[in-house]
Amino acid sequence: MSARIGVVTFPGSLDDHDAARAVRLIGAEPVELWHASDSLQGVDAIILPGGFSYGDYLRCGAIARFSPVMTEVISAADKGMPVLGICNGFQVLCESHLLPGAMIRNEQRHFVCVDQRLRVETNDTVWTCDFTRGEEITIVLKNGEGNYQADPETLKRLEDNNQVVFRYVNGNPNGSNHDIAGITNERGNVVGLMPHPEHCVEPLTSPSVDGRRFFSSLLEFLAGRS
């Protein structure tokens, strides 16, 4: 039976369809999860997609964090459920305190939309086990508030525990502390990043298909677990 991967739709989510499409392309079954529902429908993993949940009112991800589905996501993540937060999904994970730190507006005060080079800093997570440590990949990046901030103690802890998953290379596009593009929790089941792996799964529409390996990593992890 193929893995069932939930994709949450908040009001204002944009990339839920691309995330579901990426899941399908990799041979798993996407399951639509609605923000106002408190059911995770027995999925094996969850993706919080990009977009502008609740219009980005108050702060990016701040209102989505208190939606009924997020209560369930937080409790499942605490028990080890694989969760991937992409862009706005990363912001929701930070607001939920599933990941430390917060995102502010890009230092350059521009919305960025680029083919971003990244270095994979750890493959010791559910979503990156199919990568090689130190490998460079290209994943598209598009955001206005992707400037990752955390206090010095938190940054030190992230670095010491090997929780920085992706770092920007060839220049920092948004001013993020330590060039951080993505991080994981201590357990390695929750990963958040600003770039969009779900947009990098087909040669026709993306500069690479490196995004596929996020999903193949998950499938590898799920296969190893069962």
């Binding site: 108050l58 701040a62 208190f66 430390p100 917060a102 230092e107 005060r109 400037n147 206090d151 001013g175």
Partner: protein
């Protein structure tokens, strides 16, 4: 109806790109020597009496939702000026009995 104001500001050590943009625009308009940091102001109308418990509850709400304390600091202040009063007066002459809570 009692009114409570929650003011949320980016922490001093956190970069404030919006404030920087406003500072730049002011300078271009000829307003020199003004450095701006931009925050948010929430005006909260409270039903019933404003007790210490009620204020503590609002403070908790500010901590939970209105501010992200990773990057922002907040202040909770009881606003005793009548609703719709001249804003300048309210800011220049804060009530002497206003209670102030700071992070």
């Amino acid at each position: 109806m009692p009114r409570v104001v929650v003011a949320v500001m980016p922490k001093p050590e956190i970069l404030d790109p919006q404030g920087k943009a406003v500072t730049g625009a002011l300078k271009r308009l000829g307003y020199h020597g003004l450095s701006v940091r931009q925050g948010k102001r929430f005006e909260i109308e409270v039903e019933g009496e404003l007790t210490t418990e009620r204020l503590a509850e609002i403070r908790q709400a500010a901590e939970t939702l209105l501010a992200n304390t990773v990057i922002e600091a907040y202040e909770v202040q009881v606003d005793q000026s009548p609703v719709g009063a001249d804003e300048t007066t309210a800011v220049d002459e804060p009530s002497a009995t206003a209670e102030e809570y700071q992070l």
